[in-house]
Amino acid sequence: MTPAELLLFTVGGLAYAAYLFIVAAGLSLVFGALRVINMAHGSLYMVAAFVTVVVANQLGAGLGFWAGLLVAVAITGAIGGIIEVLVLRRVYGREHLIQLLGTYAVSLVVAGGVRIVFGANYRTVASPIPGHISIGGFDYATYSFFMIAAALVIAAGVWAMLYRTNLGRNIRAAVADPDLLNSTGVNVTRLYTTVFVIGAALAGLGGAIVAPSQAIGSSIDTDVLVLAFAISVIGGLGSIIGSAVGALIVGMVISFGILIPRTSPFALAFVFIIMTAVLIVRPRGLFGLPEN
């Protein structure tokens, strides 16, 4: 492989890692604080992608995309709040299965709603940052670099939120011991709602940012969800750094996996083989928290 090819696949892997990190970070944040696996996370991502495409196509490429992104994040955040108040509050502390089923039911409702509102057809939207950069004989979409930069900014933002704000301090305290936090006078109920809204908004942000880079259809929810699971599990559920590392691993594996001939039975399986291997060696993932 020439250095130019290596760069091509690396940038491709980083672009995958970028939007997958944004989605997985939301999933992981919610799990860390609420101890709930949100099966509806992919559905929120799908809603945001569709909303972005529709708004952007209405208002015209360029500015329309940014408006779409804002609308999408606002809508997914709001849906997240509704889900938390109406469903999750009733299943905290119950068996994992009930929590999985509750959020799974929500995902069915949301995905069904998407199919009714937006139909079953694939949709696309023009990139808000068009153009290509040519390096070493290969063309790179400028938007790929935007996605990578956006992921870095969001990673920094989430980190700052967790380690530099009161909210973040409370979230970390809730991860460690919600009852103790509650007894210190913090409204844990409201904190949970806030965390879930942030998590949902991150799913929305991921969906909005990914919209210009691929065709948006009504099955992208489960496709992204299973990858987000893989990332959070490889990195360790509840760990933001873990999500970043996991996203890099999964992004690179998907990107370089294209090199493997499709006839090989393991072409698609690599991500999950790595996930299995990580869990066998480290049952809580690379940066995982112990289960309470």
């Binding site: 999985l100 799974y104 995902s107 489960t222 299995t276 869990l279």
Partner: protein
């Protein structure tokens, strides 16, 4: 309500429901034919086809519920084993040109083999991480089916044409019904057997299960493999009526179907998921015909309603209905179940019955012989040596107390003895066997019964079952996949329940009893059949002075007259000095001293340790 429910569910009514179900299943083809005659729009063939798919879904869901409802495992890989069965039938029939029944016979073995190997991998993790690991496994299997064109046909899958004998819808329906019926019967026998009892114990409380001698991981792997095997049969039948095997059947989202179906029908009953399967097929067909786009939303809403309002599924509806009726009739106060214990058990402890009970070990005792020897055992957590070079001996028939201030290492020492923790160094010899670092279930089987400091019972099982299952596990009967667990040791369990004053509540779920009564179950489990050494970790925690006296009197007399050896730790000094013959004092992880109660009482070091603690408590408070 509690009193009504077992009656409604049990006996003739239950079997009546089963009979109606089977009659309904048997009559689907003629009913469909009749319907076609009366109503020209409907197609009998289509309805029989739907009936076949419901039967297969029923088998698949019931096999899933072996893990979900009976063992408490959530797997995302069950669809993959269904898919393995489907591909096995399709490949053997199409590629190797063998009769389709050969394929159907091979399907369960193929699925079980894949299930066993992948189950071993998935077992590296527990609970949530186990579920996520099965998700990864399922995606690996899906990827193989999707991309291995030469064998699986890739995304096209494999199509087959059934031989003429089976190509008739009605024949295929009855053939499917027969296979599903046999599989259901086998699974029913399994869940009623002592093996099934072990599964229920694991669902209720993993740690307690290990402490009564159940090898939790082995049973989980076994049920995982058995479930995969029956899923393989379901997958094989699926190929026969669908005449195609394709990779989407293995995709992780496909697992939603058996889960939703189990939930709809109820995970706590054997046939619940089968009923759920028929409900699901009817719903799916009628809703998606009328509202093709809304099916997901409606299904989601139904699942949500079941999760939030009726966690037990359809089979739980009678109890929800009864609860509502009670509430309407007598207002809010009617919430409290009429039959509930209020901590009377200990007052009713019946020493005479306990002494006569067969369920408590009796052996010749040589009080000069050592039953348990701990040699230089240490255990550190990070830099802290919680147990530091502890040696002690427990003679047969002795009543040995371990005392010491909080943090002295008493509970850690108990956990080292029963295998919850492994010693960093040192040896534990019990009854002549080296049990150092052995897992809890092995140690339990050598004859150590333990009552935990925190109540560790099986909350949804009845009081009698709690004791019965402990006896089954102690005796090593839980490997049996046949027989009826509820009929084994029933009399002994009842006798033991009566001895600890719980005779009247033997049929109540243990979790509904009051704290004191649950402590009585805890003690009874540790006494149940075969415990040569009974370990009691603060047996009277949370009891009143009167209850403490009663409980300790029972324990003391049992130990004396039925030759039990006791090792217990306790904070209440009056209990210690009235019960123990030997006392070991621990302080900061080490043995401070040991001797008779009288020696200990007069030991100045012991007085200093306890006085020191008092001073610290006063300063800290």
């Amino acid at each position: 309500m509690i009193r009504l429910l077992p009656r409604i569910r049990s006996g003739r009514v239950r079997w009546g429901v089963v009979l109606v179900l089977f009659l309904f299943a048997a009559l689907i083809p003629p009913l469909a034919g009749l319907n076609e005659n009366l109503n020209p729009d409907s197609s009998a063939r289509f309805q029989i086809f739907l009936g076949t798919s419901a039967l297969v879904l029923a088998l698949w869901a019931v096999s899933y519920n072996l893990m979900l409802g009976y063992t408490g495992m959530v797997s995302f890989a069950h669809a993959a084993y269904y898919g393995v069965g489907a591909y096995a039938v399709a490949l053997i029939f199409k590629r190797y040109h063998l009769p389709i029944l050969v394929g159907l016979a091979a399907a369960p073995f193929a699925a079980a083999a894949v299930g066993l190997v992948t189950g071993l991998v998935a077992q590296r993790a527990v609970r949530l991480y186990f579920s996520l690991l099965t998700l990864a496994i399922s995606q690996v299997l899906f990827s193989i089916a999707f991309t291995w064109y030469d064998v699986t046909g890739g995304d096209n899958g494999i199509s087959i044409n059934l031989p003429d004998q089976l190509n008739d819808y009605t024949t295929l329906y009855y053939f499917t019904a027969a296979v599903v019926g046999v599989c259901l019967l086998l699974m029913f026998m399994l869940v009623r057997s002592p093996f099934g009892a072990a599964l229920l114990s694991i669902r209720e409380n993993r740690q307690r299960s290990a402490a009564i001698g159940i090898n939790v991981r082995a049973y989980e792997l076994a049920v995982y493999t058995v479930a995969a095997m029956f899923a393989g049969v379901a997958g094989g039948l699926f190929v026969m009526y669908q005449q195609q095997a394709y990779p989407e059947t293995l995709y992780w989202t496909a697992n939603a179907q058996p889960v939703v179906v189990s939930l709809l029908g109820g995970t706590t009953t054997f046939l619940g998921p089968a009923i759920g399967a028929f409900i699901y097929v009817v719903l799916d067909n009628s809703i998606s015909k009328q509202f093709p786009y809304q099916f997901d939303i409606i299904l989601g809403a139904i699942v949500l309603a079941v999760v939030l309002a009726v966690p037990g599924g359809i089979s739980d509806v009678p109890s929800v209905f009864l609860r509502l009726r009670e509430r309407f009739r007598r207002g809010e106060e009617a919430e409290a179940p009429p039959l509930e214990s209020a901590g009377e058990a200990i007052q009713m402890f019946d020493v005479r019955k306990a002494l006569a009970s067969e369920a408590i070990a009796t052996e010749e005792v040589h009080s000069d012989q050592t039953l348990l020897r701990i040699e230089h055992v240490s255990r550190s957590f990070g830099g802290l040596r919680a147990v530091d070079d502890v040696s002690l001996e427990v003679k047969q028939g002795d009543r040995h107390a371990i005392i010491g201030p909080n943090g002295a290492g008493k509970s850690t020492l108990f956990n080292l003895l029963t295998g919850q923790l492994k010693p960093s160094s040192g040896k534990v010899i019990f009854d002549g066997r080296d049990i150092t670092g052995k897992p809890p279930h092995v140690i339990a089987r050598t004859g150590i019964g333990r009552a935990f400091q925190i109540t560790m019972i099986f909350p949804k099982l009845t009081v009698r079952q709690n004791l019965q299952f402990a006896m089954l596990a102690h005796g090593g009967y839980t490997v049996r996949p046949f027989g009826i667990a509820n009929r084994m040791f029933s009399a002994q369990a009842q006798e033991l329940a009566e001895a600890v004053g719980l005779g009247a509540w033997a049929d109540l779920p243990a979790g509904q009893l009051s704290h004191g009564d649950q402590r009585a179950i805890e003690i009874a489990i540790s006494l149940a059949l075969g415990s040569k050494l009974v370990l009691l970790d603060e047996p009277t925690a949370g009891m009143s002075a009167y209850e403490t006296d009663k409980a300790m009197e029972l324990v003391r007399r049992l130990a004396t007259e039925r030759h039990l050896t006791l090792l217990f730790c306790e904070h209440d000094m009056s209990v210690v000095f009235s019960t123990a013959r030997t006392v070991t004092v621990m302080h900061q992880g080490r043995v401070l001293t040991a001797g008779t109660p009288e020696q200990i009482r007069r030991n100045p070091d012991v007085q200093k340790v306890y006085l020191g603690e008092l001073e610290q408590e006063e300063l800290g408070a």
